[in-house]
Amino acid sequence: MKIALFIPCLVNQMMPDVAIATLSLLEKLGHEVIFPEGQTCCGQPMTNSGCFDEAKNTTLKLLNAFKGVECEAIVCPAASCLVAAKENFHEFDDSPEAKEVIDKLYELTEFLHDISPIPRFKYPFNHTVSLQMSCHGLRMLSLATPSESMGQQFNKVEAVLQGIEGINIVYPDRRDECCGFGGTFAVDEGAVSAKMGKDKAQAHAATNAQYVVGFDPSCLLHLDGMIRRQLLLIQTRHIAQIIDAAL
């Protein structure tokens, strides 16, 4: 399948390893991967703050980077950016070209579960991982049933990782409570955000897992800062890095 990578600004600048792992794993799965130029922020920091006027130019720049790009899917290793891009594209541009882009947008886990399942992993991963079920992926992209919901239970993240031999998947206490990042919330509401992050980091560490594994880089970045501040014995990893290492 021909895939265009959507690498949000945070991943591009602060977590290039996540982008490299995404690219690498998609190629190992036999996909042809391109990285369209001119990508920028999805506009989330602005639209989340209510500032739609300020978000417009940014969002449309990103949309333009994908318009007319020949590919079957646009894959992004960051759930909340993906959700924001989808919603913002729709908000600012309702042309057929925009719709074409929107319809091809997938979060990485979603893509690997729904569109192109991994047939077989090559290498085992003999570690315990504590899954960070970040809010936007969970409640807006339906990557798994949120704990509040009593309906049909499913979990795409677990389903994708379960194929890896030796992996032991666990969850922190209060399995999908928000980690407190919330974009500008981390700065505007510093005290509450930090307390939420502290509690979450401790809950992950209490599982005795080696890694906190998640699909949302921003939450992982926030948790990483909390983990190191408290000198906890656990490390953050993006799901793409785990999968890439096992392929």
């Binding site: 130029e37 990508q39 500032c51 940014t58 928000c178 505007d188 307390k195």
Partner: protein, 461 residues
């Protein structure tokens, strides 16, 4: 209460006592866990939520029809119905009814609406003694505080603090903190109040149009004590409380207590459809801004709320910032949804990470996270953004929309993170660095890596 402080300031103060935060957090999370177990015991839970949502939407869409039907059927049952456009009118109506009967003492039960209207101080100013009779309400009334939660109003107080308060006000033994003994003391004290009251007033959980009745749900039976003892009974309700039929009440009642405290139903769920012999029953129907909320399609859905408090219990921010940080009578997600307009600091819509847990917990599917995000947009449009956002957001917008400028800025931030000692940049990195270690910055960005390693080999344009 200092009204001028924004949510973040008040939350920062609350967070200083971490033990208290942990305790508050845990007490409320326990309710969420009880709720999960109760909801899971109903196989058709998600269908009920859908039904609850649709039935509230249907009623709201035909509100005037159902209100008129409710009024007509109430009158047929001999109930006096009054209409109040705002809090002031509500209070005047209540006072005039009480004055006519020369009421000296009023016993009141569970009503967030009368809190919203600030009825107590108004009546007290006019010489009427008001006694809140729900245990939690009575505790905070004795402590001179408003509720900090809509279902468990004194949740912020530890039992030792209640003990001290009761020692001072009800003369219980010093140092008594046993909940059973404290409750017993409160009960004895309240019994005297019930027996000497001239009138009773309650809130309304549901108002049933086709039979002209109001439903009041409590766990302590105090609303019934109040309503049944004195001759005069008053019930205050928002226009959003009306529902079509007793059947629809059953749908909501199956969820109300389960979602609030995990109980299958409240201990007492009473239907009042007329005065007792020789008595008088009044219902006051209040708008107080609700029809304004209905003008906005997104905000209107907040009127589906049945006030179970579930969204407060699940909210990770509420649990760690306390009810008094919200600058409105109703705190938490639903408090932001219905109170954002009244918050003079314009900060409460940002007291939220938009995690969406509230919307999934809500029995009537109030899209709380969407409503909160919408409030932010409205504030931006009205140019009432907090945290200096209105000054820096245009800059961020400019920066982000230019990949070159943005990458350049991020590039220098990365270099700063790599080269400068963290102690040097920490003060500049604001709240992030205050509470967390700064990110370990990579050497280069992905697009630089890509250009060096991939671009020539792939077909990227």
């Amino acid at each position: 209460m200092t009204q001028s402080k924004n949510h973040a300031d008040k939350a920062t103060i609350f967070c200083r006592d971490e033990n208290r935060v942990d305790w508050h957090n845990k007490a409320l999370w326990t309710l969420r866990e009880k709720r999960d177990r109760a909801a899971a015991s109903v196989p058709e839970w998600e269908d009920l939520r859908q039904l609850g949502s649709e039935l509230k939407l249907h009623t709201l869409a035909n509100l005037s029809h159902y209100l008129v039907e409710f009024e007509k059927n109430c009158q047929a049952n001999g109930i006096h119905v009054h209409w109040a456009k705002d809090a002031a009118e509500h209070n005047q109506i209540a006072l005039s009814i009480l004055a006519k009967h020369q009421v000296k003492k009023l016993v009141k039960s569970k009503s967030m609406l009368t809190e919203e209207c600030h009825l107590n101080p108004y009546l007290e100013k006019h010489g009427i003694e008001v006694i809140d009779t729900d245990l939690g309400e009575r505790i905070i009334q004795l402590n001179n505080q408003p509720p900090s939660h809509i279902v468990v109003p004194a949740i912020h107080m530890k039992k030792e603090e209640v003990g001290d308060l009761f020692h001072e006000k009800l003369h219980t033994p010093k140092g008594e903190s046993d909940p059973t003994r404290l409750t017993r003391a409160a009960r004895a004290h309240l019994r005297e109040q019930f027996l000497s009251a001239d009138a009773a007033m309650t809130g309304v959980n549901m108002a049933i149009a086709d039979i002209g009745a109001v439903v009041v749900c409590t766990n302590e039976g105090n609303a019934d004590m109040g309503a049944n003892l004195p001759k005069l009974q008053l019930h205050s309700m928002g226009i959003d409380k009306v529902i079509p039929s007793a059947d629809s009440a059953m749908v909501l009642m199956r969820m109300l207590a389960r979602n609030a405290t995990g109980q299958p139903s409240t201990t007492y769920s009473s239907f009042y459809k007329g005065a007792k012999p020789g008595g008088e029953m009044h219902v006051i129907i209040v708008d107080n801004g609700r029809s304004d909320i209905m003008q906005d399609k997104i905000l209107a859905e907040s009127l589906k709320c049945i006030r179970c408090g579930g969204c407060l219990n699940t909210c990770p921010v509420y649990r760690r910032s306390g009810g008094y940080s919200y600058n409105y009578t109703i705190p938490g997600p639903i408090g932001i949804a219905v109170g954002a307009k009244h918050d003079e600091t314009n900060s409460i819509p940002w007291a939220c990470t938009l995690c969406g847990s509230c919307s999934y917990v809500c029995p009537t599917k109030v899209p709380l996270d969407k409503i909160i995000a919408h409030h932010r947009r409205l504030k931006a449009q009205q140019r009432t953004l907090p945290f200096g956002k209105s000054s820096y957001m245009p800059l961020v917008g400019k920066l982000m929309s230019s990949p070159t400028a943005f990458n350049c800025a991020m590039g220098s931030a990365r270099i700063a993170l790599r080269v400068l000692p963290h102690s040097l940049i920490k003060p500049f990195s604001g709240a992030w660095g205050k509470y967390r270690e700064l990110p370990v910055a990579p050497k280069s960005s992905f697009d630089t890596w890509y250009k060096q390693n991939k671009a020539n080999k792939s077909e990227a344009k």
